[in-house]
Symmetry: C2
Subunit: 376 residues, 2 copies
């Protein structure tokens, strides 16, 4: 009757989840508490404070949604979008496309600014589309997990020269590993995840909302259909009212709290620099092997590194050999990049020099045994 489950010890260098530090796992063994226990509420207060530091914001409404990154995306869009309104969505990858789809599901008339996958969206085109539209919401993916592209988000705020706007940024693959700068960049809402730059297990989605975003939500004619993702109700639990909404996932929040502590102990700048250094080392190794990166150097993420699969090399076979012979997971391409790139994640505690060296060595051995000629 009883089945067993004994997963192998993988080195997770795909799009996430990444490996989790033992200290974070140990935090999940701390005694579980009720969702209104005064000690548990202290944990939530600490999480809010820590998340504000990592998001680089003073937004009061900053917490973890009790679901994965996609839950955070839905929480932001479902609350901000009123049915029938125009929403401008920048699309240059799978997750920009998903933001457009979810916006449509929530009743938006989506105005897409499309760009080639792997290249940033041109801000002048965004500005032109914004000017021609009546959109009050602009959605942009900071770190496109499907391509490894980093979108410059510093210019976004200048859209407000045209018209007031709610700026929504997907920071799923950047938060905790690259500067997001919510307040500095005047972003109104952002959603991330627990299992990439943050270094906790998957299951939570950190979000933050500016006062301007909350004003738009409070001014809705009807509340959003979703009750689980109703930000004003969730906030009543995280804020001093402590009104019960749903049973908070205690152990996941213990893990998130610990992971955030580790981030601030390392220091945000140090952590960003580590991710940059290891990504650049990996790219140097990949290029020395005769392979090419998908994204131009100035627009590369430090978390998710997209390597072009050389012609004649069998995508699935290489990934399968990495997994089964070396216990290393890397990611496949998505959508139009399926079979064309490998997605190598160097995030959180997985962004180490050793992981870079090991993966490069394993890739070289497999590629050579598959008949690909690496330069000496």
């Amino acid at each position: 009757m009883t089945t067993s489950f004994n997963p192998p010890n993988r080195i997770l260098l795909g799009p996430g989840p990444g490996n989790v530090e033992p200290r974070v796992l140990q935090a999940m063994l701390k005694p579980i508490l009720g969702y209104l226990d005064p000690v548990y509420l202290q944990c939530l207060d600490q999480i809010q404070k820590l998340l504000r530091s990592v998001f680089e914001t003073e937004n009061r409404v900053t917490f973890s949604v009790s679901g994965t990154g996609g839950a955070g995306m839905e929480a932001c869009l479902a609350n901000l979008i009123e049915p029938g309104e125009e929403v401008l969505v920048c699309v240059n990858g799978f997750f920009g496309q998903r933001a457009a789809e979810i916006s449509e599901r929530w009743g938006a008339k989506v105005i897409r600014v499309d760009s080639e996958w792997g290249r940033p969206v041109d801000m002048q085109r965004v500005r032109d589309s914004f000017r021609r539209s009546s959109a009050r919401i602009v959605v942009m993916v900071h770190a496109e997990t499907s391509t490894g592209m980093r979108q410059p988000i510093e210019q976004l705020k200048h859209l407000r020269d045209v018209r007031d706007a709610i700026l929504v940024v997907d920071s799923v693959t950047s938060l905790g590993a690259l500067p997001v700068g919510i307040d500095r960049n005047e972003i109104d809402a952002s959603y991330s995840c627990s299992q990439k730059g943050i270094g906790a297990p998957p299951g939570l989605s950190p979000v933050t909302f500016s006062e301007r975003a909350l004003e738009k939500i409070r001014a809705r004619k009807e509340h959003p259909r979703s009750w689980y993702f109703d930000v004003l109700l969730i906030d009543k639990y995280w804020s001093s009212e402590r009104t019960y909404h749903h049973t908070s996932p205690a152990l996941m929040n213990y893990a998130l709290r610990e992971a955030l502590e580790i981030i601030l102990e390392e220091g945000l700048e140090n952590r960003w620099a580590r991710h940059e250094r290891n990504s650049k080392a990996f790219v140097a190794g990949v290029e020395a092997m005769g392979l090419e990166m998908l994204v131009a150097p100035e627009h590369r993420l430090w978390t998710l590194n997209a390597v072009r699969i050389p012609p004649g090399v069998d995508d699935a076979r290489v990934r399968s050999r990495l997994l089964h012979e070396y216990n290393i997971e890397i990611g496949a391409g998505f959508g139009s990049l399926k079979g064309k790139i490998w997605r190598v994640g160097l995030m959180g505690c997985g962004s180490t020099e050793n992981n870079v060296l090991l993966l490069l060595a394993a890739m070289r051995r497999i590629l050579e045994s598959e008949g690909f000629r690496c330069p000496a």
Copy 2:
């Protein structure tokens, strides 16, 4: 800079979360895997099979929603309800009321069958309302966490003598501790949670959908607004297609898998009997102390035991003393029962003779020192 978080070792005898067996916690320390790792997919297959046993169903579409119990409620209602349709909701407690509210948010014209909190809803009245309505969906709470009442759900299927109907049952506080009997009772959709009868940490919501329910969902004119809770999309990941939807919360699912294994090792009937025995022992002790239960004996849950607070006794003070002097959490009343009942959870590994004895002894000591006279 660094803050610490060292929660005390509580005995959790409130409405949930309950305490979690060490074996379930240890399962969360197993190596984390990617969401498409073939070994991880085996874990999900095992969960589906185990959940079917616990739900007592052969429904193919049986899985854990990546959110807490409220997420499961929303997933069921958001997918089944088409805007504008009549939905019959039985309301005799906080969670029936919540089902009515969420149904309304998703566009239903809700027809309520109200009953006094703590008493089951009369099936003849349900039948009469159903006959007068055009509702094709009926929602009923099996185990009302706010009152400790167990609703007989065996008669629900006879509504189909009147007209075909989709029967939705909230099993949040019954699954894994009381028989739910999805197939035997011809229930079409049910949602539960991980942290009560199942004995895992909070964060997941087991759900199950009959073929009849899926037909209704597939026949929708428009897909439900929610993307995160779109059951047909989630099913594409859990079924053989394995299409990426969201990053599965791996460690939570490890915990759920282990907790479900423990349930089947104990045996469903043995587990139900244990919950019944310990609940009855607690009730006997409570009544011997001169206190009364809210719910009539034949309608009591074995998981959530609602004790009337005797006149003159300070609700909050007693709960606070239990928490701070004995490290025992019990729950307060909700809504119209606030200040009138204590909610004592004896669920999962928390349903033990020792917990019953300890809680009764602690309650007696506190009540007597607060001036309440217990019979000798």
